[in-house]
Structures are given as structure tokens and as C-alpha cells.
């Protein structure tokens, strides 16, 4: 059983909602990415989404765009990021890691070579924002190397397409809470609930919800009907001004602690 599947099985068994923080690898302090990942786990992360910065992040809002620009300015690229995952794995062999990013860095490294190195480093899943099911051939080497390809479902995904997405997805289904870019203030909790309910008709996999979730209150509502909640832009923004590693890790814990508590309270209350 993969680390991702294992983790979702544990969450289901203990009736907890998963917390998935997203950070842009190398931002704001490249040398502290591994320490930050460990801090996320301490703060209650069940899975870590590690963003691979790209020069042209078409699906991202300003917060993650700027984080990517900062990381790129410090020379952060796939090879270094895989090194950080390897380093993280020296002390944590259970927390699943999903790399999230865009196709071009993978294409330039070569999908097969990337997959081999990613598996070796201890990456569990890959979410390629601009690689939908139509282009499954491009990501086939990732799947054959044993990486789980996380797929997105969106409010624009029709029922017919949802069936295709669900049959190709692995690990968990990432439901995009609105039609828009990451970090936008557009979330409508009712429509997210309806969307997740629709996805569940087809999805055998756990469903995580992401895009635009900013605080414990929103996370708590979504945690009532989703298997996991992804928090990206709000966390990245909070971390962006950290001056050193201690501050970075403290900020991460301070930000995630109330969200973790709210998620746990939500399930406790609904029981």
C-alpha cells in the first residue's frame, strides 16, 4: 500500500479529516524547506504538497506566483527539490509527499528520468496542473515508475468527464472549489459541498478540497464533507515574511494549529 493510500486509510479508520498544507519549495528560505516540512508534520499535516516553482504558473494567483518568483530567483529547481525530499525522508518515512507543479520542468528533465529520481527520493504522488486526462500519455512514465498521479476535478467537470477522471485518478481526487486561480476569494461553501457530493457519486478515492480555503472556519465546514482540506495560498502568504528558520517553523505551526483543531472538532461534533 502506498503512503498516500495508507494515510487516507488511517484517517478514515480514526474518522479524521486530512490536513494537506501546500508550500512552494524553496520559499521563502531555500535552506529551511526540509525543516519547514517537518514543522508542518508536527503541526498536524497528514500529507505535504510541495510546489515546484515554474516561471509561468497559469493556474496560480498572485501569492503563489510571487512565491514561485522568489524561489526561482534563488535558483530552486527540480533537482534541488528532490534532494530536499530525500533529506526529509531520512527522518520521516510515513508522511506522504505530493509534488505539485507544471509540465515543462518534468518534460525538460524527461518524464521517465524524473519519475525514477522522484521515486528514489521518496516522492509518493505528482499533481501536474496542466496535464489533464487528454494528455495521459505524457505522464505515463510517472505512473509506470510507481508515482500516483493526483488528478483534479473542477466545477466545470461534467458528470461524464468525472467518470473518466475518477477512473484515471490515484491517491485522492483533488476537487477544485471554484472556477478560478489559486488563492482567489471566491469560495462558496454550498456549491463546494454540492460539487463534492457529485464527485463522490463516481469517486472511489478519497476527495480533498482545495483552492481559496483560508482559515479554520472554512476548513471546518469543508471538513464535514471532504476527506481532506488543502491549504495553500493563505499559508504561503503567512510564511512569506519569515526571516529565519525558527520564525518560519513557528509561523507554520501557529497558522496550522487552529485549522487542525477545527478539523478535529468538526468530525467530533458530527459523530
Amino acid at each position: 500500500m502506498s503512503r498516500i493510500d495508507q494515510r487516507f486509510a488511517e484517517l478514515a479508520a480514526s474518522d479524521r479529516t486530512g490536513l494537506i498544507p501546500f508550500i512552494t519549495a524553496g520559499d521563502p528560505l531555500p535552506d529551511s524547506t526540509v525543516a519547514l516540512m517537518h514543522a508542518l508534520v508536527v503541526a498536524g499535516a497528514d500529507l505535504i504538497e510541495l510546489g515546484v516553482p515554474f516561471s509561468d504558473p497559469m493556474a496560480d494567483g498572485p501569492v503563489i506566483q510571487h512565491a514561485s518568483e522568489r524561489a526561482l530567483a534563488r535558483g530552486v529547481g527540480l533537482t534541488r527539490i528532490l534532494g530536499w525530499v530525500h533529506e526529509f525522508r531520512q527522518h520521516d518515512v510515513v508522511t506522504p509527499i505530493v509534488l505539485m507543479g507544471y509540465m515543462n520542468p518534468v518534460e525538460i528533465m524527461g518524464a521517465a528520468r524524473f519519475a525514477e529520481l522522484a521515486v528514489e527520493a521518496g516522492v509518493d504522488g505528482v499533481l501536474l496542473v496542466d496535464c489533464p486526462i487528454e494528455e495521459a500519455a505524457a505522464s505515463a512514465p510517472l505512473r509506470s515508475a510507481g508515482l500516483q498521479q493526483i488528478l483534479l476535478a473542477a466545477p466545470t467537470t461534467t458528470a461524464q468527464r468525472m467518470a473518466q477522471v475518477c477512473s484515471a485518478a490515484a491517491g485522492f481526487l483533488y476537487y477544485v472549489s471554484f472556477a478560478g486561480i489559486t488563492g482567489a476569494d471566491r469560495i462558496s461553501l454550498e456549491s463546494v459541498e454540492a460539487g463534492v457530493a457529485q464527485a463522490r457519486q463516481q469517486a472511489k478515492l478519497p476527495v480533498a478540497v482545495g483552492f481559496g480555503i483560508r482559515d479554520a472556519a472554512q476548513a471546518q465546514v469543508i471538513g464535514n464533507f471532504a476527506d481532506a482540506v488543502v491549504i495553500g495560498s493563505a499559508l504561503v502568504e503567512r510564511l512569506s515574511s519569515a526571516r529565519d528558520e525558527a520564525e518560519l517553523c513557528a509561523e507554520a505551526q501557529a497558522f496550522l494549529a487552529p485549522i487542525r483543531a477545527a478539523l478535529d472538532a468538526a468530525r467530533g461534533a458530527s459523530r
Binding site: F54, S55, D56, P57, M58, A59, G61, P62, Q65, E69, L72, G77, L78, T79, Y102, M103, N104, P105, V106, E107, I108, M109, G110, A111, V129, D130, C131, P132, I133, E134, E135, A138, L151, L152, A153, A154, P155, T156, T157, T158, R161, V165, V176, A179, G180, I181, A184, R186
Partner: protein, 412 residues
């Protein structure tokens, strides 16, 4: 990655005009590399376009606008004095610069605006580099009564003030893009972000043969009128096809527009002129096909300019319209298939061609098109006088006089 799909059957001629396939792939290139949110809207666009492109009423309206609004057909002009000066083959110019708004771009924006209207979309967005596509989009939006928002890099807004003002005069809203390198590629990113956010009522008019499927095909089809006309005009006025055809290639819409009708004429040599900027060896250029590698950018697989980490690199060209780190996937396909060749033309060569054409023929070519003129001159020099080189003069140079003056240290 290397092209994985073999399209060459030994002993059999390839039907180059038959691409892309049903999924928008030109061999290994093209496709639809977009976020999930856009997948269904793109499928809807594909279905609408495939219905409209064979609809006699749609075709008739498109052709009527090309004739009475754009001013088509554009003539082929024999640049006799230039040809004589060069001393080689005869240089013929396809005069897309004479179109309404001054470039080939309007062939595409009229077509897409008609598609938008048929789909019931009232809000149009577009990206622009030099401002030519933005102006052509603002123009057709005024013509059809549609709302228009144009994304333009902050750097380009500074470089192309006149076109920014033209767009505003036409009723468009011009939104400065301050992310990334603040140029065309970033404007495209921002337009995509707008589109994914306002998908229900918004139509994205992409200005070149890039983007996700069906854009490379649709934009090509709307510009292919250039080559269809040119091919018929060659047969009518010269009794034969040209020996070589050439056009400048940034994203590649005017080039594919000219090339497409000639793809299966094996005797016609096809040469694209890319922006070599300060010279390809300097790294300051925008020659994706000559110096890039296959990758994925803006929704399609094509040749891109990027570093070893896959990060898109900044480009340079004196002409803002060629200043783009990718290229239409069909050009990538034609390059690999050996059907077309692509060469770099430097800023200096393009400027020299600009002046030479102005002095010998009384035509101010756009800086983009001046790259094609420079390449036509090179090709003509290598060929005897009885040969014909057809060059797409894709746009007029009025928009560039300030740039040229500034470069030559002349205060206007």
C-alpha cells in the same frame, strides 16, 4: 522529450494539411495541456468551432467581412526595384499590411469574434505583445458590440504607447500585467487566469497559433486565407507556384497562414524567419525553433526557450510581436518533419531590410515582417533571376517608427 509518434510511412507522401489529429496533436506537438477547469470549456469551443467552420452561413459572413471590412483579397506585389537591387530571384510581397488595422491579425479576430457571438459570449479577452493583436481584437469587438479586455505586459505598454491608446479609442480596457517578465508570455498567462475565472460568459481570442487545442488549428484556419489567396494569385498572374515562400515566425500565425495552402506542394520550399535578436550565439533572441527544445508552454507541446530546470527564459527581439519564448506547435511539427526550415534573422538584418524596402519600394514594413523581408532578400540572392520568392508582408510599420527612431538615436 523526443517526438514519439512516427507519421512518415516509407514510400508514401505525407498529407501535411491533414493535421492536427482529433485531439489536436501535430505529431508529437500541440495537444491540450491545461488545468482541469478549462477542459470542458475547450471541448465546448471545439464542438462549436467544428460546427461553425462547415456552416455555409458562418462561412459567408466571415468572407463578407473579410471582403468589405478587412479589404481582402490583399494583392501580391512584385517588388521589382528591390529584386533588381538584390540581383537574384524575383521578390513578391503578399500585402497583408494593406488589411484594415494594418496586419494579418484581423483575419483571425474576425473569425473568432464570430465564433464568440455564435456561442453567446459577450465578453472578449485577449493578450497582446506589440499591441497588433490587441488592436485587431478591440476593432472587431467594436464592430460586433462586444466587451473587450486586453492583457498587456507592463513593459510592452511602455514600448507601445500608441497601440495602447488605439485600443482605448476602440473602447477596450487595457490591463497592465506586472507578473514575470511583464511581456507577451505573461500577458498570455494573465488572460488564461481571467478566462478560467470568468469561463461562463467570456471568450478568449488567442492571437497566435499557440495555446491549447483547438486554438492552433482555429487560428490557422482563419489565417489560411492568406495562403489560399496567394496560391490562386500566383497561378493566375504568374502561371505557376513560387519556388520559395517565407514569413516571420514569432508565435507563427502569419507564417502558418501563408504556408498552409502550400504544404502539399512539394516543389515549394518553405522557410520561416525567427527573431535572432542580437544573434543566436548571444542568447539574446527569440528563436524557439532554431535554438529551443521540445517542452510544454501555454497549453501545448512545442519548442520552447527554457533553462535546464525547465524555466522559460526571457527573450529578446527588436520586434515585440516576435518576442515570445514558444512557437505554434504546427511549426514544431513541420520543422521535425523536414517540410519547413526555420532560420534566425537578427535585429540588425531586419532593420537593414526595413530601410531597404522603404527606399526601394516605398513600403514601411512592420519590424516583424522586416525579418521575413530580410530572409526573402537572402533567399533571392542565392537564386537565379527567373525564380520567384514569395514573402508575407504581414504588417505595416507605422507602429514601429518610434522604435526605429529611438534605436537610431533620432528625437521626433
Amino acid at each position: 522529450m523526443s517526438p514519439s509518434i512516427s507519421f512518415k510511412i516509407p514510400g508514401e507522401a505525407v498529407d501535411f494539411a491533414a493535421f492536427p489529429d482529433a485531439n489536436g496533436h501535430f505529431g508529437a506537438y500541440g495537444g491540450s495541456f491545461v488545468a482541469e477547469t478549462l477542459a470542458v470549456p475547450l471541448a465546448e469551443l471545439t464542438a462549436a468551432y467544428d460546427r461553425l467552420r462547415v456552416d455555409p452561413e458562418f462561412i459567408a459572413e466571415y468572407e463578407r467581412d473579410l471582403k468589405f471590412y478587412v479589404g481582402r483579397p490583399s494583392p501580391i506585389y512584385h517588388a521589382q526595384r528591390l529584386s533588381h537591387e538584390v540581383g537574384g530571384a524575383q521578390i513578391l510581397l503578399k500585402r497583408e499590411d494593406l488589411n484594415h488595422t494594418g496586419a494579418h491579425k484581423i483575419n483571425n479576430t474576425i473569425g473568432q469574434a464570430l465564433v464568440a457571438r455564435a456561442m453567446g459570449k459577450r465578453r472578449i479577452i485577449a493578450e497582446t505583445g506589440a499591441g497588433q493583436h490587441g488592436v485587431a481584437t478591440a476593432t472587431v469587438c467594436a464592430r460586433f458590440g462586444l466587451d473587450c479586455v486586453v492583457y498587456m505586459g507592463a513593459t510592452d505598454i511602455e514600448r507601445q504607447k500608441i497601440n495602447v491608446y488605439r485600443m482605448k479609442l476602440l473602447g477596450a480596457q487595457v490591463v497592465p500585467v506586472t507578473s514575470g517578465s511583464q511581456t507577451l508570455k505573461d500577458a498570455l498567462n494573465e488572460a488564461m487566469r481571467d478566462w478560467v475565472t470568468n469561463i461562463a460568459d467570456t471568450f478568449y481570442i488567442i492571437g497566435t497559433v499557440a495555446g491549447p487545442s483547438p486554438y492552433p488549428r482555429m487560428v490557422r484556419d482563419f489565417n489560411a486565407v492568406v495562403g489560399r489567396e496567394a496560391r490562386a494569385q500566383m497561378l493566375e498572374h504568374y502561371g505557376r507556384l513560387p519556388d520559395v515562400i517565407t514569413a516571420c515566425v514569432g508565435g507563427g500565425s502569419n507564417a502558418i497562414g501563408l504556408f498552409h495552402a502550400f504544404l502539399n506542394d512539394a516543389q515549394v520550399r518553405i522557410v520561416g524567419a525567427e527573431a535572432a535578436g542580437d544573434g543566436i550565439a548571444t542568447g539574446r533572441h527569440a528563436a524557439s525553433l532554431s535554438a529551443g527544445r521540445p517542452g510544454v508552454l501555454h497549453g501545448n507541446r512545442t519548442y520552447v526557450l527554457c533553462d535546464d530546470d525547465g524555466q522559460i527564459t526571457e527573450t529578446h527581439s527588436v520586434s515585440a510581436g516576435l518576442d515570445y519564448p514558444g512557437v505554434g506547435p504546427e511549426h514544431a511539427f513541420l520543422k521535425d518533419a523536414g517540410r519547413a526550415s526555420y532560420v534566425g534573422v537578427t535585429d540588425e538584418e531586419a532593420l537593414a531590410a526595413f530601410h531597404r524596402l522603404a527606399r526601394s519600394e516605398g513600403i514601411l514594413a512592420a519590424l516583424e515582417s522586416s525579418h521575413a523581408v530580410a530572409q526573402a532578400i537572402k533567399l533571392a540572392q542565392e537564386l537565379p533571376r527567373d525564380r520567384l520568392v514569395l514573402c508575407n508582408l504581414s504588417g505595416r510599420g507605422d507602429k514601429d517608427v518610434h522604435t526605429i527612431a529611438a534605436r537610431e538615436r533620432i528625437t521626433l
